[in-house]
Symmetry: none
Subunit: 412 residues, 2 copies
């Protein structure tokens, strides 16, 4: 099937917003075996949007639109689709009752009320993260999908409500695609490509790399009619790749580093505490992103100031004076200290220079120490990251989770 993506939104055309939605959707549609031939971005302007949409349907069987579902007067996508498809707008009773629930006893603003009207024949797609539902509509072999502009709402709606329906449509067309994503930490995209050169050149399963900044997604894809055979091929490839890369493969499909670490902690019945300096709470934030993390995560100390390092988790003043806060010994004392203070089995600590200021020739921006205290001792890793403040902090969080994961794997 041939598709194209039409993004509406004046902010993209003002150069304020990167069009990450077109990127995301293209990756997902391609993954399903749909060929994306065009991206178009057009402002919230009736005539231009109408022309862009009509043009898109002239060229392609499927058009995926993002944006223009909101409550304001310049949100016009559904109305234009109704015009292009020559159908009326009609009220969706379920959406109205959801909206009433959302506003409880308060009055629904008139603009928001527009969000419960849809082109006739639409499948209404629930929006679990916002008030504007999406649309899937088919007429005379042309498919239209309308998703919300905000990327989190768009992604959630696509993954949960659109992808399964598209898969079903494609299966009726006799196409079937099976995919598995291996998540890899500790290699760059080009190192990984080198490492897997022989695999990458094979036709089945086809492989693609996607750099997720702190890790890489390696996507394996098989096209066949036989699900059992597809799974066998994918499993065989996964095993061969795991054999080559060892525990650099940290997860499969949607598994995050924090999810995998949580599972291992639960499995070993171990509890964790964190002591954070340069990451300032991001590590705890990542660990607690997982529902149920209170089973193994007790909490932590954000020991940003040196005095907090001393008073709350017992880092020695002499270590801070002789080696500085960003040092092997301070990472060690932070990890040991928080483990002891919170009474956890494991203590994980970060200290580093996130930048942009604070670097010296001996301790440049990006220098980070990660400490892991466990019942039999303490491990410390020294890292030198590149990039800006955000990037150094994110890499520190992922590296700390990775260090903990590798420790837990080796317990087996």
């Amino acid at each position: 099937m041939i598709a194209e993506i039409v993004s509406t939104g004046t902010e993209i055309l003002l150069g304020k917003t990167l069009n990450t939605s077109a990127f995301y959707l293209t990756g997902q549609l391609t993954g399903l075996g749909i060929e994306v031939r065009y991206h178009t971005t057009v402002g919230d302007h009736k005539e231009r949007l109408f022309n862009a949409i009509r043009e898109a349907f002239n060229r392609s069987q499927m058009v995926v639109l993002t944006g223009g579902l909101g409550p304001t007067a310049d949100d016009l996508t559904k109305e234009i689709i109704a015009e292009v498809f020559k159908v009326q707008m009609s009220l969706d009773v379920d959406s109205l009752s959801s909206l009433k629930d959302f506003y409880q006893n308060k009055e629904i603003p008139p603009g928001t009320l527009r969000q419960v009207f849809f082109p006739e024949g639409s499948i209404v797609l629930p929006n679990d993260f916002g008030t504007a539902p999406g649309v899937m509509l088919e007429k005379e072999g042309k498919f239209c999908i309308i998703l919300p502009g905000p990327p989190t709402e768009m992604k959630q709606m696509f993954d949960k409500y659109v992808a399964p329906r598209l898969q079903a449509i494609l299966e009726n067309n006799g196409q079937k695609m099976f995919a598995r994503v291996l998540k890899i930490f500790g290699l760059s995209e080009s190192e990984l490509e080198q490492e897997l050169l022989d695999f990458m050149q094979k036709e089945t399963p086809s492989m693609a790399l996607l750099d997720k900044h702190t890790y890489i997604d390696l996507r394996l894809t098989v096209r066949t009619t036989d699900e059992k055979q597809a799974n066998e091929i994918l499993t065989r490839a996964e095993l061969a790749i795991r054999e080559r890369l060892g525990n650099k493969v940290f997860g499969v499909d949607e598994e995050s580093h924090s999810l995998v670490v949580g599972r291992l902690l639960r499995q070993h019945k171990l509890t964790l505490a964190t002591a954070e300096s340069c990451t300032g709470g991001l590590l705890g934030g990542m660990i607690t992103a997982e529902a149920g993390s209170s089973d193994y995560y007790l909490g932590g100390v954000i020991s940003y100031a040196d005095k907090v390092k001393q008073d709350l988790i017992g880092v020695n003043n002499s270590s801070l004076i002789s080696r500085g806060a960003v040092s092997e010994i301070v990472a060690r004392e932070m990890a040991e200290g928080v483990r002891k203070r919170l009474g956890s089995d494991l203590g994980l600590a970060t200290t580093g220079i996130a930048g942009p200021g604070g670097g010296t020739p001996a301790k440049p921006v990006g220098l980070v120490y990660i400490g892991l205290a466990h019942p039999k001792g303490v491990l410390v890793e020294k890292k030198q990251f590149s990039g800006n403040r955000e990037s150094v902090r994110n890499m520190t969080v992922e590296s700390a989770l990775n260090m903990l994961r590798v420790y837990l794997l080796e317990l087996d």
Copy 2:
């Protein structure tokens, strides 16, 4: 002047590459006062590219193209432009001699040799980072700019060789655009639209809302030839909106909530500590996203387990037993406790039910208490957020920052 951007490149349509070039160019063109009305991405396919380019010139006075300047057979942009503009391809002597210098005594590959031919009438733009020169071409009032696909080559060429030429062209035309963004917390998109209805209907400055999930961007835009006049119009509108919305306006342009709070803390010479339960470190992570935050942020305690709430920051066991961890009194004791324990001027605490599990009829998912301890007492706000775990946690962080900001503003 009205422009559009046509990106060529199959990798974007495979979902492998984010179209950062269109984003960059849009920002730059908008900054110059050129209105970008469309982005189109099309693969390296002759007929589709030809149609996309012809369509673009039908709509717009200026078309900026990226990609398709390389040495391979599917690099066709210049040839297609020659066809659309009805001119011949001709050899550029300077480019040929640069290429000869680049290859020194080695033979120039035939594909690369194609890179020294250009549509007749072109201004050839040097490529300081690669071998493929770019093109600027004007005919009968239509402007065409062709830039290389690799973003570093494209940016360098645009900044150094295109922008000054465009500036000169525009000054002859006398057009320019000026914008200001007000960042607003505590109103939904439709509430804000209701509140500002009379402003939104005015033509100058034009206004647009963009929902950023935890806050709203309100963008004001003025088109004029006179920068001083533009700034006066924007400032007058900003003041009128601030008068209406009060301190719901938390920042301007690129200012984040954490940046603004940091500035206020520094201004009042106050230090801050955090105690986090449901946000698990995200609040500290957000505060420390700002470089230099160690000036005012001492650190915090992630008191995820009840025992950590008691042991590290002195929450009373009786409060936890009688009211539960998610309660007004525990938020109060966390804020007071962390303030006292870390010796800061202010203590900011979060406790809530982020979900998806753990909710009860009396304490549903999304119930959050935020405590702010200060030298004269403690404030507590009770919130009921909707959405999933991520959304509840993010709203809690923003609401805590907002509560602190409003407190600091009222100190004046």
